[in-house]
Subunit: 200 residues, 2 copies
């Protein structure tokens, strides 16, 4: 019984083969449905049907709809995360914090422009969904570290991320804002929030 204990403690609860297969099927089906019919076609029932899987399976694997969509975005976001951690400055390590933050928002807005509908769906599918998705936590920590010398970095990071809220930006777009205009506004605000540049 001792080795059972050991097993339990050390086991990173591996995913069963059928579970993994179904995760892939669901993700696949979701991606297909989205490219075919846009965000409108992306209902949980339709995804389950297209994946030839029960609806319960979708929820067990992804928690809720917002989780499913987040998983759909995961690969793209992971790429951006890697560029932040390992990539070249100014996005990656090495550049001054302010420049890194500006580079981040520039890159993130590109991501947002490319996937506005999906990001919006994942952020509005449930109240508070935005702040629980793994990637939000990543962006938040990154920014909080970048402005570590400000009074409340944690809060400031949330405030900054508010500027790239998908719902807000979708609304701005509908009101005729160009992405360039949004980019400029965000850059200006980020600059201001980082405080005045050290005068030469």
């Amino acid at each position: 019984m001792n080795d059972e204990l050991l097993r339990v403690l050390s086991r990173p609860p591996r995913e069963r083969a059928d579970a993994a297969r179904n995760r892939a099927r669901v993700l696949d089906a979701a991606a297909r449905l989205f490219t075919e019919g846009g965000v409108e076609a992306l209902t949980v029932d339709a995804v389950a049907r297209a994946a030839e899987v029960g609806k319960g399976t979708v929820f067990r694997r992804f928690g809720d709809k917002s989780g499913l969509v987040a998983a759909l975005l995961d690969e793209r976001e992971r790429r951006l995360q890697e560029r932040i951690v390992f990539g070249d400055p100014p996005l990656g390590p090495g550049a001054p914090a302010r420049d890194r933050a500006l580079a981040f928002f520039d890159a993130y807005l590109t991501h947002l422009a490319d996937h506005l509908d999906l990001v919006r769906l994942s952020e509005t599918a449930a109240p508070g969904a935005r702040y629980r998705v793994g990637s939000y936590v990543f962006w938040h920590r990154h920014l909080a570290i970048l402005c570590a010398d400000r009074p409340d970095p944690d809060h400031l990071a949330h405030v900054m991320l508010g500027m790239v809220d998908a719902d807000l930006n979708a609304e701005l777009r509908e009101h005729g804002y160009s992405w360039d205009r949004i980019r400029a506004g965000v850059a200006a605000a980020v600059g201001a929030l980082f405080g005045p540049t050290a005068a030469p």
Copy 2:
């Protein structure tokens, strides 16, 4: 037929008596349900039943659930709006723009703290709901005017209002942020966004 034209042009499409009566009943029932069972008890069916009114009536009067909740908040918000337009400085006219903005956020955060659940409900009931509610438009215009001399006042106003997003602040509260901490963070950010104070 000329006076018919006149009538049509001048008529502010008055509300029928039964319509007005039902609006009051619904609002009443909603308020009662909320004080009794909190935001959880506030389903459209329950409201309609409590108001002894068909469900369709609720939707015809208020558009959607978020509209109903917004109407519930309307009175309180109207009071704040009056203080902004007619009240004493620094909230009302007369104080420097920066001070007025700071006073606004302070007052708004008080409002938010008092009605967090309702505001959150009205903002998350539907995607984009937040930006369509009348009061948001009011706050936005007010702020945009206050920072009229900045490069993109319209966008900047949206950014600032992002800091008092109900969903965000509900999340912050759940993570243990005190309202004082939030207040301080918002004040600092608003100050920074208004640019450095003119040095004496």
